[in-house]
Symmetry: C2
Subunit: 336 residues, 2 copies
């Protein structure tokens, strides 16, 4: 990508985002914590270690089936902490509002923030509100940052991943992206597709009780499971094989994806996690996950291999194999 | 303010912002940490206490004499931590970019972020980048959050303030607001006015070496010293007297304010702090401040009194007295 200006693709979470990070942010801001490029930074503070993360939310529209930008922002931050082995404690809330945004809608969003914080057991402890003129922002943007303490029994890193490890996905793919897309486009597919936005800290904690069974976790948001699995393949310098028939997807989401011409492997999820696990514990971890309300449809979707380092291969329904690359371009702008 | 929609005034930091916080945010998000309403939240994590703060920056234009949105965002977060007695350690960086924003300009901003972080001795450890379509945001918005450890010898609170305490301001008022305003409006006043954006953590640390001499600190940003002093009067339930002739202001800033019809007491500063100090230590604190490069023009500008609780009175140049209220409406939108 040789553009001289910022494109929507730079916010996709896919290739262009990675290039921006590699070419501009890393050389300028270079430090050992940032260089890890995990969902949260693990930081020494006094004698302890904390996790710290931030995310900007610009989802369009701000209200969609299954949630709104407030719930999404809190859950997204909770999940970035949870997949790094954190017990989330505190969240900050920074609002950028467009002049003319209705009070009533803001109040619904703030209530969602409060409810999501309550469910996740975190406190919203600090905030900021800025307002820009009509036309200088689109309705509402929210940036949440979060702080967690590290669960003592955790040691998660892509460096822990070994050939033969199993890949567990906590449920069906594409629900969030398709729900937002249908709402944005005003499409009436007579579907009941809702966003999967949910806090995953409890599920993460439950599966981490098995010491060293979990090698690494990510939540596959922007760019979908395809992009997240590619990041894991790159960071571990191992290959990944996934099986199309093993990947949970709701028939309505599959149908809507087909109508919209979208590949569900690249569609954003907001309440799913991918865990890379020791194969001897995989079945046990899977059943722990399935007992959690947000993990009922969890499945083992693939295996780590040393055959094709840095690459993700999909074994298709009809028996073929294809390389699944990281998201190129921008499939679904402003999905989160 | 009985508006049913968000107005620019709700982002002013003045009365409308306070009303939004009191009417909507506090009832919904209510918790002991948030309720303190200081510049940073003081939070227990394990056995220690940390400070945590967040700020969204929407300054228009993003480049102005003396700095840019990147430098402003880092310094603003440093200062919110510093005035609460913190030693800043880590900063997060969330960008919302408008499609079409030039790479070259973004790179200058990221370099400013890096330089400001280096000067302040903090690391940018985590971040996020979102892009919205052309016309859905105005160029670039930045949200920074920050984490600090508390200096061990500090105990800052508006509850510590006593009648007779002195009010020290670390330098001249209005520089940032006027610099941005002149740049935005393209006004050629043949002035050399530059933003005062600067990190104040070292100055804050230096003056806190005197145990219990410092009762409380704030940085007077949006809404100017008038708004910050009103907040201090309300939180301490004491009165404040300030002397017009004692308040440092550059003649160029005073002149530009007059031409623009602005009251410099309400104009934003980005490199100033207000310290409420024990009167027996006031001269000593003042001279410590004046030895710091960002405090050369520091002055004692007033006194705490129990005469008119919750109010700020200005003794004018010509010998009169007037009540200085919190900022009402929006004098200078998008100043930070």
């Amino acid at each position: 990508m040789d553009s001289k200006v910022i494109l929507l693709a730079h916010g996709s979470g896919g290739k262009a985002t990675h290039q921006l990070i590699d070419d501009m942010f890393m050389p300028r801001l270079n430090n050992a914590f940032l260089n890890e490029l995990t969902d949260s930074a693990l930081l020494p503070v006094g004698d302890i270690k904390i996790l710290f993360t931030t995310d900007a939310y610009v989802v369009d529209p701000p209200f969609f089936p299954g949630g709104d930008i407030g719930k999404l922002a809190v859950n997204g931050t909770i999940n970035d902490l949870a997949v790094c082995g954190g017990k989330p404690l505190y969240v900050s809330l920074a609002l950028i509002l467009e002049e003319g945004f209705p009070f009533e809608k803001l109040d619904v969003i703030i209530q969602s923030v409060a409810e999501a914080a309550r469910e996740a057991g975190v406190k919203v402890v600090t905030g900021d509100t800025k307002v820009v003129g009509h036309g200088s922002a689109d309705k509402i943007f929210i940036t949440t940052s979060g702080i967690a303490v590290l669960h003592p029994y955790t040691s998660l890193s892509p460096k822990n991943i070994r050939p033969g490890d199993k890949i567990i996905l906590s449920g069906s793919i594409g629900d969030h992206g398709i729900a937002v897309m249908l709402e944005r486009e005003g499409l009436e597919l007579k579907s009941n597709i809702t966003s999967d936005t949910a806090p995953l800290h409890k599920m993460a904690e439950e599966i981490m009780q098995e010491p060293s069974a979990i090698r690494f976790m990510r939540d596959p948001t922007r760019g979908g499971i395809a992009t997240t699995l590619n990041e894991i393949a790159l960071q571990s310098q191992l290959g990944i094989t996934i099986y199309e028939t093993a990947i949970p997807i709701k028939s309505e989401v599959a149908g809507a994806s087909e109508i919209l011409g979208l590949d569900p492997l690249y569609i954003a999820n907001e309440g799913k996690l991918i865990a890379i696990v020791d194969p001897t514990h995989a079945d046990n971890i899977l059943s722990i996950m399935q007992r959690n309300r947000y993990g009922r449809d969890a499945a083992i979707i693939g295996t780590i291999t040393d055959d094709f380092p840095g690459k993700v291969i999909l074994k298709t329904r009809i028996g073929g194999s294809r390389i699944v690359d990281m998201l190129a371009g921008e499939q679904l702008p402003r999905i989160c």
